[in-house]
Amino acid sequence: MMTDTSLSPLLASPRPNERVSRDLLRRGRWKPAEFVFWLIVAASFFFLPDRHLLLSEIAILGLFALSLDLIIGYAGVVSLGHGAFFGLGAYVAGLTSIHLTGEPLTGLVLAALAAGLLGLATGPLLLLRASDLTRLMVTLGVAMLVLEGANQAAWLTGGADGLTGVMIDPLLGRFEFDLFGTTGYAYCLIVTFAFFLIARRVVTSPYGLSLRAIRDNPLRARSMGIPVGRRILGLYAFSALIAGAAGALLTQTTMFVSLDVLAFHRSADVLLILVLGGVGYLYGGLLGAIGFKLLQDWFSAITPQYWMFWMGLVLLVVVLIGRENLNALPRTLLARFRKEGRT
């Protein structure tokens, strides 16, 4: 990560425990750039009132990608089926509003819990064999199972026609979800920010540190006494929970669910988003969502039918250049700039 590994705390502190907790505190401190980012996000609500629908979509995609970042960037598990949790959350939120209550927060909580439970139930499959291919296939298989399930259970989900009749009550009983998406955007932003805070707290905690150890070297982590399986499982379920919440947000702001939320391209898109933004520092998903939506808008304006081709090309170039190089680009440019300024 971007932390400097200076030796000074190592020499200064008398006890290792204190050193560790100080180091963790330092990692957990908010950097100025983070304040700027969230201020800009908050400002977008007030200064781009006619773009709230698009912005809501970005916030939802950002939250979804954030959840994927947790398992890829912090646990090193590559998933091709994260859309399963997103879709499940979307359906649970929709069904809640139809059969139970239109109250949005209840739907959100239920959707997140359902997705988290699915994560907890399918997570052990990831631990069978720690090969990336098996994990890819297991996650993909689970996603396909959920998609087939939703497709077959047409009496519940409406099948290929989608779930209609989703009605969402005003938020907190006061703020009506309007046509321009203003309430929706505020709702999405607040939920996204809240989950971001929790995720940030988790990854900067000692727990998060142990996850990083697992990602970098599972064997060593195990021999240090970190319960690798349980940690991965816990984080996977947490990530699934957030993805479910993102799905619920989509349902509640668009008031419609279709099988599209479970389609394979959801899982692939969210990977692409995360990679555009960068893996392993939590902001990657949010930044990637902005980049992805803008690119998608731009490409589909040029070639409405074949934007997928250009999206693929962008991804190809990103991967060929190398994700690390791309993420490090601003810093190397800055370093070069400084050096030239000095001479």
Partner: protein
């Protein structure tokens, strides 16, 4: 009952021919190539276009359905894939998904999104009876062709110098390099052959699986399942896995259509729980 079994075996054989290239890529270079289905699609389109636009007979198109994807595979391997070998699996996945997206949109753009149909020659249509069991002529043709392919491949792998080098490279790449085997060249050749086989499979499969621009995604899941279950240690593993998946899929669609595609995913997960190392585990 037996008819379904034979249909399933034909389908499984087809899956095996398509999956073989992927198994070797994975075993040899540890490369997760999700774009493998794109080569199968190229082969399918070669046959479909040659038959429909140029009027070439079905059997004559098959060599081209092998050669053209093989050539494309060779070029792609030398220019693109070769840069990716040392990267992480996440990069492999992203890279090959990008290729899948591009191939889908590209095929859509060039050839339209409609289903491609071909008319088989009359001697491959209809069915015949053996001991009271109805067998589709085309299914029997598939089984014969694929079985011949499998036997030839097995002979090449087990009996030729190239096969010995390939096996050595799969088992221990570093030691093979140390012995002076040009692993890069072997890999390029194998990649091309695998792509060609996928193309051939795509061409043979038009009649059974259909062909449209989303073909790479559709076939991807099946092929990946075969490789995941079968393991990459030998030909036997993927072969068995392909037969199991093929038969299960056909039988499932016939007997319990309401389950749909449920069955094969469930089967995959169950098999993975039972044999996490693959059906035939590597000796190491």
């Amino acid at each position: 009952m037996l008819t379904i079994l034979i249909d399933g075996i034909a389908y499984g054989m087809l899956l095996f021919v398509m999956a073989l290239g992927l198994a070797v890529t994975l075993g040899l270079m540890n490369f997760v190539n999700l774009a493998h289905g794109a080569f199968a699609m190229i082969g399918g389109y070669v046959t479909a276009l040659a038959m429909n636009r140029l009027g070439v007979p079905f059997l004559l198109t098959l060599p081209f359905a092998f050669l053209i994807p093989a050539l494309v595979g060779l070029v792609a391997e030398r220019t693109l894939y070769v840069r990716m070998y040392r990267r992480s699996h996440l990069d492999h996945v992203l890279f090959s998904i990008a290729l899948v997206f591009m191939s889908i949109a590209g095929a859509d753009w060039l050839l339209g999104s409609s289903q491609m149909l071909i008319t088989l020659p009359p001697w491959l249509q209809g069915r015949f009876e053996v001991l009271g069991v109805g067998i589709g002529r085309y299914r029997a043709f598939l089984i014969v062709v694929c079985a011949a392919l499998v036997i030839v491949l097995q002979m090449v792998l087990a009996g030729t110098r190239f096969g010995a080098r390939l096996r050595a490279s799969v088992d221990d790449q570093r030691a093979a390099r140390g012995l002076g085997i040009n692993v890069n060249r072997i890999f390029a050749l194998t990649f091309a052959t695998g792509s060609g086989l996928a193309g051939l499979g795509g061409a043979l499969g038009i009649e059974i699986m259909g062909l449209d621009p989303t073909f790479p995604l559709k076939i991807l899941v099946y092929v990946l399942i075969v490789v995941t279950i079968g393991g990459t240690a030998s030909l036997t593993g993927p072969f068995l896995a392909a037969l199991i998946i093929g038969t299960a899929d056909v039988a499932g669609k016939y007997y319990v259509p309401e389950l749909g595609a449920f069955l094969i995913y469930l089967l995959m997960i169950v098999l993975l729980i039972l044999r996490p190392q693959g059906l035939i585990a590597p000796a190491r």
